[in-house]
């Protein structure tokens, strides 16, 4: 129990450090690198919740495909657009204090209310086959809905790039 506590303490401090870095760096590529580290750390965090398949999927899909696509579009822009100017905080700065205040308030309220004694999970599902059989036998309709939803990006991609081909721009 105690090594789990120490490990989660280390992870919380790492998350906190990298969120602060994301906020206070000025160049988009450095902010992006901090977010990449956050995604990989979250993948490792899923391992503590007995979700090993989700951990691998998180790293492969998010950190391996989505963020690479983001990096490719970052390099399409010239260098001066990627730099945040000084005096970056907009004129909303007085109302933007609200999310931070809300967070600190919730944090303190949880601490004051007290943590109940035992938080052990009731039944640990670590079997990949059980989850897979649940997905394919009981909730098969989700996969059809997923295929339906994913057809929209495909149609959208075709529509966006159709005009360029007509103009001979391939």
């Amino acid at each position: 129990m105690i090594e789990r506590a120490i490990a989660l303490l280390i992870f919380t401090t790492l998350f906190f450090i990298f969120t602060l870095f994301t906020f206070f760096f000025r160049h988009l590529v450095y902010q992006f690198l901090c977010i990449l580290v956050l995604m990989v750390l979250q993948g490792i965090l899923y391992l503590y919740l007995n979700a090993e398949f989700l951990a691998a999927i998180q790293v492969i899909v998010y950190a391996g495909a989505i963020l690479v696509m983001f990096l490719f579009t970052l390099f399409l822009f010239p260098e001066e657009d990627l730099r945040d100017v000084k005096g970056d905080f907009r004129s909303l700065r007085y109302t933007s204090f609200l999310p931070v205040a809300l967070f600190i308030f919730l944090f303190l309220w949880e601490l004051i209310r007290g943590i109940p004694e035992s938080y052990l999970p009731q039944k640990i599902y670590f079997d990949l086959r059980e989850m897979a059989s649940l997905l394919f036998n009981e909730y098969w309709i989700i996969l059809f809905i997923l295929a339906f939803i994913l057809s929209f990006p495909m149609v959208a991609l075709y529509v966006f790039f159709k005009e360029e081909r007509e103009n001979g721009n391939s």
Partner: protein
């Protein structure tokens, strides 16, 4: 699950395993450079290096000393921090693959339930080192070279995953030990023969994933002046090449474990020639790995290079449909086997 009382002992054993695996694989990677130059030399009707030691055997050591003593140049326009960590990213994500690969039925550094997905994840993370190396060099040509190479690796990861999906479907598990055992029990003894299409797709993707010939457009001397490696000199360039040779070993280990039966021999072979039963399993695996390394070197000496648009169109238009066909074929086979 490791209990608390044996924690120190377990950590010591894991460190020992890491030292053994790293020592052996790094030695192999260093001498593969020598073997490649010798073999390519012989294929081109000339001798390879013969000067340095007996038969040129100390050549890698001479190369290492030369790389270590070169001057470390960082261009002025480079982003210094990213320039320094980019080769390390490539190397780290290539070496970590070795921790989930079993060299023996009971020897692997980390016995996870999802060995194959870990290798796919680290292959996906390895593209970051290349893109960041190209971007942080501060020149437009390096950036373009890095983006091209990353696009190549990304496009060839998809048929890699799909052909592995056929293997996983056949073995009903993600662990590599289970995949090898499922092959040992099957009729032909290897995954290569029922899944010949998947085998060929995986072989081609293995060449493309490691930036080896005939897909080595970023490294060719006449293309964009060596692409993303242009501004790197001395030991940093050595780290890039070390990463490439180690990922070559990881790919050949994966092929021989997933498609050729790993450390087991087919049943019909051992019933024909019963003296083969006394071979240790690791030796069988090593012979298969050497076979594939020889294939890598042989292909480099033989085939011309692909152009970039030919490369991309081959991945998206040829390999992905082939891998999907293979998957459907394996699904039908499995359905017939189970009913």
């Amino acid at each position: 699950m490791a209990s608390n009382s044996h924690l120190l002992w377990d950590i010591l054993i894991i460190l020992l395993k890491i030292a053994v695996v790293l020592g052996i694989v790094l030695l192999h990677a260093a001498y593969t450079v020598y073997a490649e130059r010798k073999i390519i030399g012989r294929m081109q009707a000339r001798l390879g290096p013969t000067e340095v030691g007996p038969y040129g055997l100390l050549q890698p050591i001479a190369d290492l000393i030369k790389l270590l003593f070169k001057e470390d140049i960082i261009p002025i326009e480079a982003h210094k921090f990213i320039f320094q960590i980019a080769p390390l990213l490539v190397l780290v994500f290539a070496i970590t693959n070795l921790s989930v690969i079993p060299f023996h039925p009971s020897f692997s550094i980390a016995d996870v339930n999802l060995g194959v997905l870990v290798i796919l994840a680290f292959a996906g993370l390895g593209t970051y080192g290349i893109i960041l190396a190209g971007y942080s060099s501060g020149s437009k040509y390096s950036l373009l070279g890095g983006l091209r190479s990353a696009a190549q690796i990304l496009s060839y990861e998809i048929p890699l995953g799909l052909s592995l999906a056929g293997v996983i479907l056949y073995a009903e598990s993600f662990r590599i030990q289970d995949i090898v055992e499922a092959q040992a029990k099957s009729l032909i003894g290897m995954n290569a023969l029922p899944q010949i299409l998947g085998f060929i797709v995986f072989l081609i993707c293995a060449f493309a994933e490691t930036n080896r010939a005939p897909f080595d457009l970023p490294e060719a001397e006449s293309e964009l002046v060596a692409g993303y490696i242009t501004e790197y000199s001395g030991f940093r360039m050595g780290i890039f090449f070390l990463g490439e040779y180690i990922s070559m070993y990881v790919m050949s280990l994966l092929i021989s474990l997933c498609y050729l039966g790993g450390w087991t021999l087919p049943i019909w072979l051992t019933s024909l020639l019963p003296f083969l039963k006394v071979l240790p399993p690791t030796l069988i695996l090593i012979i298969k790995v050497y076979l594939f390394i020889f294939l890598f070197i042989w292909v480099r000496a033989t085939f011309p290079r692909y152009r970039f648009d030919q490369l991309m169109s081959m991945s998206w238009k040829v390999l992905i449909p082939a891998a999907l066909l293979n998957f459907i074929w394996i699904a039908l086979l499995k359905w017939r086997l189970l009913t």
